[in-house]
Amino acid sequence: MALLATCFAGQAAAQSITAVSYGGSYQKASTEAWYEPFAAATGIRVDVEDFNGGLAQIRAQVEVGNVYWDVVDLNASDVTLACDEGLLEYVDAAALPPAPDGTPAEEDFISGTLSDCGVGNVVWSTIYAYDANRFPGARPETIADFFDLEKFPGRRGMRRVPMANLEFALLADGVPAEDVYAVLSTPEGLGRAFDKLDTIKDQVVWWEAGAQPPQMLADGEVVMSTAYNGRIFNAQVLEGQSFVIVWDGQLLDINQLAIVAGTPRLDEAMRLVSFASTADALADLGRRISYGPARESAGPLITTHLETGVEMGPHLPTHPPNMARALRRDWTWWVDNQDELNERFSAWLAR
């Protein structure tokens, strides 16, 4: 085992580091926007690996003391969990690069995107989308319409986790966005969310991977589906699908770059995190995939989609009209409650 460990560690000595990200179009975009320019600027090679989220591999590396991942692109709730468990290095926000106009990083990052161990990079969201071809008459416009089988009959796609679905259920049931987590914290509120989900349960097709919803919409397997906004954007501009995103009730989420605790390449890793969190780097990513930047100053720099020339603004979750009834995911709430809710959700599904 130790021999194996040295083989792996030796491979990544000093002049190369390993960055890990979710595969697919997001990884492609971040490689082009951050990792390749970083390698060109510093001479430090970046090996990009992909994973499916989750902390199991990071924990295994830290526990065995054989860290061969250096920088990881993680969901903010995973960063909170992993930081608490001591799996990530602390990151000093003051050491991050300031905005182009000199505003210090701590003020330039959108509030909540910096944490003890994570540096925010993208703001993405879970929305629902439909295929315009299937709605010749009235079209869904609000999150309540997603739960309205009378007005819009047909099957719905939803991710098979309690996360997002419980929030959508309460929003559709008329709970104001700012009260959603307070209501969910009470047993009655939780019951109310499950009751709302009950009303469409037998019309739901559950999905697992982010690539499934666009496919199910294109196949006509469902008439509307929750999805990650970037995936729908790709289907819209690259594949010419006539999908429409309903931004009402969108659930905003944040990804962060973090450094695995105990990496022998801490300096290089920190340099990469700094490099990738400049306004220019974040804007570059925003021109490749429709995820908003975590810095205020990067917003105006995002103009058109590099590949197709489409104006990016209206496609970003952070676009003001899209934010009218947006909810920010409370990941500390989810970290506190996910064990119990996952059990309850699984039991509910099986009923």
Partner: protein, 408 residues
Amino acid sequence: MTARRRGRVAKVGPGRRDRLRAMGLVLPLLIFLGVTFLAPLGTMLVRSVYDPVVADALPATLTALRDWDGEGLPAEAAYEAAAREIGAAREARTLGQVASRANRLQSGLRGVFTRTGRDLREVAEGPWREAMAAIDSAWVEPGTWHAIRAAGERITARHYLNALDMQRLADGSVARQPEERRIYLPLLWRTLLVSLAITVFCLILGYPIAHLIAHARPRRAGLLLALVLVPFWTSLLVRTTSWIVLLQTQGVVNDLLVAIGLVGDDGRLSMVYNMTGTLVAMTHVLLPFMVLPLYSVMRSIPPLHMRAAASMGATPAQAFRRVYWPQTLPGVGAGSLLVFILAIGYYITPALVGGSSGQLISNMVAYHMQTSLNWGLAAALGALLLVGVLVLYLLYDRLVGVERMSLG
């Protein structure tokens, strides 16, 4: 007088040195198995009953709690010890691990621990009960302390209790989980039933195919065997997603049914994202594991046996039942055991085509390994599956005899 047989038989078989040399040949395999199979298996089994994190981080608190009668609130000494040790754990960055374990026993305690660790830095001296109650009212609820005491057990049965949908109540008695949280037992039961159904389907579909291949002319047999093997060599994900394309409501099969007028356009069948999808896709994926052992056993049965049975007046059905079938039993046993054991551990296929009703216990194991990081519970669920497989193996050995099993 009988002539004495020659007293000595020439010693045959390997000598000591030969045996050692033979051992040397298998040694790499043994080491490999030890490192990649036995060691991880052992570690996981240990994890399912042994969890020192809380006991190591809060030793004085747990000692102080020993004097607590479980009614009302613990003494000030426990609060003082907890305050000191939570602060120390925060410094050592182990507080999160302690918090996540307490959180599994009572939702919300993670936040209580991390908040307390953060805010206690501003508190220099006692009374600690008031100080901690001011940070979070959970500290003046007995349930919090019960959870800490339970999480502090170094050797614990709670993962197994949890895996069997049971919980330890505050007074130490064991009770079933409330109904809306019972999940693992129904899933275990469903996993066993689904695996059994898949084994039966594979046998029904695989037996005639294996027979056909085993008794076909060589060239045709080769072709048929390739038809079995090519899907076997194709990526699992490709095969699974192909079934989605075929079975979905706007898919090939439904289009065909609508085209020939068997079902109306509104009445398209739901054949995927439910139990049907899981059964169809898994049966297809596992079929080769049934066909191959059956094939190799059937090939060794001389065709003369059936002809002999016929010549002695047996009808084809009788000949099959009394002569052919018993000789294929070793293959049936091997194939069934193989398919069944693979099926109860399967998780990618049910995750993709299973929808809500087609989930199996392995999906929960994956969830606890990857997302919730509750490796103790994952290990306990895995151990239960392992016990299930071993029991089946012993049953099989009792009923059929493992030495009769043949993988060809």
